[in-house]
């Protein structure tokens, strides 16, 4: 538990530097171009054009309004077009850059607008062209502001990059969230945050010095060195990777089990299994559908059905793995009969696990649901709530943390282990008839490939079974294929 894990830390630090540097470089270049046009097309400026000025302003405002995580998901097709995949560090750079371009565009627009109009007038009087006014007057004169704005942008990107874990981008944020936050590993959380603080301090200090001393050459040399490092990192001859099966799982306990499966695959079948981790339930299917991974093991039938229907995925389940019964946990009551009126009940916010939690409550007689809503029930489908339970809908990973605040908390199995809970402690849990067995899901066209059958065999092997029972003790994982 108190393993400092230096190698993952160094790797994650480099991934953050890599993502943030390239994304910053792109956003500063494009942001400056867009910002310059916004400035030049403004009233009384050389390229005055109200329509273009307003249009650019609108695009910038719209892009800036979209929350980063939504932006990241919604530009997936574009990312794929550009990078060829939607997961990994390179794929994370695209949304980072797109989020920061409009930010830096505004920064540079206002930096340019700070240049006294008299200087532009003087340049006009000298017979300068618009390009000369830009390159000889506006940019050199606003350089300190532009550098300070760049510092601001880079630091904002360090913050955004923490969310890159959602697309498997790696970096310090992913390390902190997936290994620190979700596995309750305080040491990892603290060390990653410490590195982030140090990084931000360094960027700010360097930015201040560069801005004060107008060190354009130093910035250029520094960028060139970083570019060389990034390109070197990207094209370093890697071990030739053929016969690789990329399997997506949730980070945390399922990842531990997959590492055992990886050994089995290598030892018994000679297959290289690459474990790709995710921290949300949407991305693994998107990545599978677009070919970034070959299989995923994280979902149950009702969820797959709902997702496939919503996104028109051509996916197929080839085998079952384990049933991870969902349980309701409480620090305040020991028995469900002790539940008070107006009690606060926290359930997951993803549609299928939310529905799953509601079905358990329905079965226990606490609430009743609209007839026929099935596994996709939401709190709006509750028809009877005789105990006036107050529902709070939260992110699945957040649920173990609200045990002290809520009376009853539905926690999926992915998060019970790290939170130090076992299914035996649940005051309410699914029965053995649960339809929620986890599935091995592949693309429909791959379902008859022999390697996929092998994957099922690997997952059903004794080693994997033992590891699973170790990670989820006390009947928290029940083999569903037997």
């Amino acid at each position: 538990m108190y393993d400092l894990a230096l190698i993952p830390l160094v790797k994650a630090t480099w991934e953050t530097v890599y993502m943030v540097f390239i994304a910053s470089f792109i956003s500063i270049v494009f942001g400056l171009i867009i910002g310059s046009f916004m400035y030049l097309t403004d009233k009384n400026q050389p390229l005055e054009n109200t329509l273009i000025h307003r249009l650019l302003g609108l695009v910038v405002n719209v892009t800036r309004s979209v929350p980063f995580i939504i932006l990241m998901i919604s530009i997936i097709p574009f990312t794929r077009l550009l990078i060829g995949t939607t997961i990994g560090t390179n794929a994370a750079i695209v949304p980072l850059a797109i989020a920061a371009i409009p930010f830096f565009a505004r920064v540079s627009e206002s930096a340019l607008a700070e240049v006294p109009y008299g200087l532009i007038e003087a340049a006009h009087a000298m017979g300068a062209t618009t390009w000369q006014i830009m390159s000889k007057v506006l940019i050199p004169e606003s350089l300190p502001s532009l550098i300070r704005g760049s510092t601001l942008t880079i630091i904002a990107l360090v913050g955004y990059s923490a969310m890159a874990g959602v697309v498997g981008g790696g970096g310090l944020g992913e390390l902190a969230i997936n290994y620190g936050y979700q596995q309750f590993n305080v040491v990892v959380m603290v060390e990653t945050v410490a590195v982030l603080i140090l990084m931000v301090q360094l960027i700010q200090a360097a930015g201040d010095i560069f801005a004060k001393q107008r060190r354009v050459k130093a910035i250029l040399i520094f960028s060139c060195v970083l570019w060389a490092a990034c390109i070197g990192y990207q094209f370093w001859p890697a071990v030739p990777q053929e016969n690789i099966l990329r399997v997506g799982v949730m980070s945390g306990s399922p990842e531990k089990i997959m590492l055992v499966a990886r050994d089995v695959a290598k030892r018994k079948y000679g297959i290289d299994l690459e474990v790709v981790t995710f921290s949300d339930y949407v991305q693994p299917n998107t990545a599978l559908d677009n070919g970034s991974i070959d299989a995923n093991i994280f979902q149950h039938g009702p969820y797959l059905e709902a997702q496939a229907k919503a996104h028109h995925y051509q996916l197929a389940a080839i085998a079952k793995t384990f049933v991870y019964p969902m349980g309701f946990y409480s620090l305040k009551i020991r028995n469900i009969t002790q539940l008070k009126e107006n009690a606060i009940v926290a359930i997951p916010n993803d549609p299928s696990n939310g529905g799953r939690a509601l079905l358990i409550l329905k079965k226990s007689g606490l609430i009743d649901l609209k007839p026929g809503v099935g596994t996709l029930a939401t709190i709006r489908d509750i028809t009877t709530n005789s105990r006036h339970l107050q529902f709070k809908v939260l992110d699945a990973a957040q649920l173990p943390r609200v045990l002290k605040d809520a009376d009853l908390v539905a926690i999926t199995n992915d998060f019970t282990g790290p939170a130090g809970l076992t299914i035996n402690q649940a005051v309410l849990k699914e029965g053995s008839d649960s339809p929620y067995a986890n599935l091995i899901v592949v693309r429909d066209k791959d379902k008859n490939k022999p390697v996929m059958q092998t994957l099922a065999d690997i997952m059903h092997s004794d080693s994997v079974l033992q590891e699973t029972e170790k990670v989820f003790p006390g009947g928290a994982a029940i083999p569903a294929w037997k």
């Binding site: 006294p116 008299g118 200087l119 007038e121 003087a122 006009h124 009087a125 000298m126 017979g127 300068a128 062209t129 000369q132 000889k136 007057v137 050199p140 004169e141 350089l143 107008r214």
Partner: protein, 343 residues
């Protein structure tokens, strides 16, 4: 030669229409220093900026050596602007560039090779006496030095015309004098036509041979400086001159002054003498020839360029008809008499 013909310019501010220039026509000779004088808001800045089309006039023509700037294409206009240097009240130097680099800027814009730039900038640094400051940044210079840099920069492309926009208004009297001396030197040594606008009559008085007076966007009058000072044709110019030359009457006299003729009172008259005409013989002649007595209340002598202009305010008592005859008597002479009122 610069000809301004029937120039009009109006500004539209929200829903108000402000006429800035109304039917201005002027001719400025090659090689002269021409002043445009007016109080703030008179339209002088707009007029000056029309000369290199920083302000686009609504109507009218700007002819520089018979080329109408208002009809030029954008690229031809940029070429023409290199023939018209400009300096500003607040210098408008680039803070990111040294003195040397500021002066070099217009030459960089026309793509002059480095060696050529070095030669030109060096000789300009000599002209404005800033060789020792060439590696300094504008923040390290005094106002007067900054304006010298701006002058060198404006002259780097060897323009025939130099526009000065309130070039000394932000300077202390000593720097003002040195900048004006420099402008005069440039005019006489390089033959650059200088057009300056100012709200300080003093500046006009020191360097301009001819000037125009603007008020409320209209050209009030224009001509030689001596004429403007000695014989202002319009009330506006007269007031401006009085203010500039501190020709205000003593308060005690001003208090008793009335404008309606009153036979019981005496006349207050200002005599303006041009050149070497001395006031003494005139007053003694009048006293001798006519039955009047003259009491000198105020007198001063101004040097405008090389000429001397004297102003004497006298109180004349006697029969008003005889005083009228006396004033008629001096009409043909070069002395200008102006009745200020009755005391």
């Amino acid at each position: 030669m610069i000809q301004i013909k029937n120039l009009y310019k109006t500004y539209v501010l929200e829903d108000r229409v402000l006429p800035a220039l109304q039917d201005i026509s002027l001719t400025i000779q090659r090689g002269e220093i021409f002043g445009i004088f007016g109080e703030s808001g008179a339209g002088k800045s707009t007029l000056l900026r029309s000369l290199n089309l920083l302000e686009k006039p609504d109507r009218g023509q700007i002819l520089v050596d018979d080329v109408d700037l208002t009809t030029l294409s954008a690229s031809r206009l940029k070429e023409q602007r290199r023939n018209i240097g400009m300096i500003f009240q607040h210098f408008n130097l680039l803070l990111s560039r040294t003195v040397y680099e500021n002066i070099a800027l217009p030459l960089e814009l026309i793509g002059m090779p480095k060696a050529g730039i070095h030669r030109e900038v060096s000789s300009l640094l000599d002209l404005v006496q800033l060789q020792d400051h060439k590696y300094h940044y504008p923040q390290q210079l005094s106002g007067g030095q900054k304006q010298r840099v701006a002058i060198a920069r404006a002259l780097s492309t060897k323009p025939e015309i130099l526009l000065c926009d309130e070039a000394t208004s932000a300077l202390d009297p000593k720097s003002t004098a040195s900048v004006l001396a420099l402008l005069k030197e440039i005019n006489s040594r390089l033959g650059v036509t200088i057009i300056l606008i100012t709200h300080e009559m003093d500046v006009i008085k020191q360097v301009c041979r001819r000037a125009a007076v603007l008020s409320d966007g209209k050209l009030v009058e224009y001509g030689s400086i001596i004429e403007l000072f000695a014989r202002p044709a319009s009330e506006i110019t007269r007031q401006l001159v009085q203010k500039a030359l501190h020709l205000e009457l003593p308060d005690a006299v001003k208090a008793g002054l009335q404008s309606e003729p009153d036979p019981a009172k005496s006349l207050l008259v200002r005599f303006t003498f041009l050149g070497d005409d001395s006031s003494q013989p005139l007053i003694s002649t009048l006293v001798r020839k006519f039955d009047i007595s003259i009491n000198i209340i105020q007198a001063n002598i101004e040097t405008i360029q090389e000429a001397t202009v004297g102003f004497t305010v006298c109180q004349i008592s006697g029969d008003h008809d005889i005083i009228g005859q006396a004033l008629a008597y001096i009409k043909p002479t070069s002395v200008n008499a102006e009745v200020l009122g009755y005391v």
